[in-house]
Symmetry: C3
Subunit: 139 residues, 3 copies
């Protein structure tokens, strides 16, 4: 049984989903692990890791629009706004989604379904460099 | 340390929660693992895995009603509707819940609390055959 | 490779976030594991485990206020109310957040980002004793 940690730096360009499926798979290839799990963990509180439909870009746009309506910027009861109107909504969107995701590995491949992709979901308006930890456990 | 992957096929009958607790426990029994974790991963983007109250069916109905109101079908800004009015809401409900869940195993048993059950949460109106991967790691 | 299960009892005092980061880290220290993952699992259906901004208390208050508005008590369509108006909302808030969280361990330390803390999110009005299972896998 091996445990390998690796890092991924993801450059985001404002709110929205960035697919990282191939980057995660590359780390698994490099690890040599054929059978186990991969845990994908984002080290921030204003973006998320989600598994989402990866075929049709309209699905991603509708998802982003839904979150903009569900957690609007500048709600009058927000007091945590040191970094601007998208500060507090970014934490709420993160809590409503996920900080980590765990995916099985069989024969060296992440066992995603046909339409599943792994995405970093950026909740801030500005560009950010995001740090994602990839932990691979298996043999 | 052993790693065992197994599959579960879940037949759903429209929107709602299907309990799979006993099916997951059977896979653990079969694996012989007494001590470790089980990762439950659904290979679709229009249904979820959740842990939920498993005693009172009214709790499940209220939950389904809440999600129907939170993510209504046919919102006028949805553009991803190739498969009908429940297409885009199903992806959003999945992102708001979970694709995977990890549960500790002690003495061969999932360590759920008294009122916890593992459920597949179907978000589509039609019947579906859903594929769930069960990964058991331990000794 | 070792697997260690440990328990944490968390005393809550009504709705809100209780930080448990140091308690989880103590269990890792005690286990002697330097390299692996920790799975944090709460054995209840009316509270959650979340990773959240841990520096500014106003962020936590705004989050609690958001959830009070998103899942109001005593919605007229709730039928599951045996334990009062905060009964059904507590299950919904749990489903919208998480029952477990998985964090990488490197050099004996949880690899949280600068602003991340691990929290138990209590959804009931009354005080509760909450049982959290900490599973540490690694070497």
């Amino acid at each position: 049984m091996h445990i390998r940690h690796d890092q991924l730096e993801v450059r985001t360009h404002g709110k929205g989903l960035c697919e990282i499926t191939d980057d995660v798979q590359s780390k698994i290839d490099k690890s040599g692990v054929r059978n186990g799990i991969v845990a994908i963990f984002v080290r921030h509180t204003s973006c998320s890791i989600v598994i989402m439909e990866n075929a049709d870009p309209t699905a991603r746009r509708d998802l982003e629009e839904f979150f903009d309506r569900l957690v609007p910027e500048d709600a009058d009861y927000f007091t945590h706004d040191a970094e601007g109107g998208d500060d507090m909504p970014s934490h709420i969107r993160m809590v409503l989604t996920r900080t980590s995701e765990t995916v099985p590995i069989v024969d060296g491949k992440m066992q995603l379904g046909t339409w599943q992709g792994v995405f970093l979901f950026e909740h801030r308006r500005a560009s950010h460099r995001r740090n994602v930890l990839i932990t691979i456990m298996g043999e």
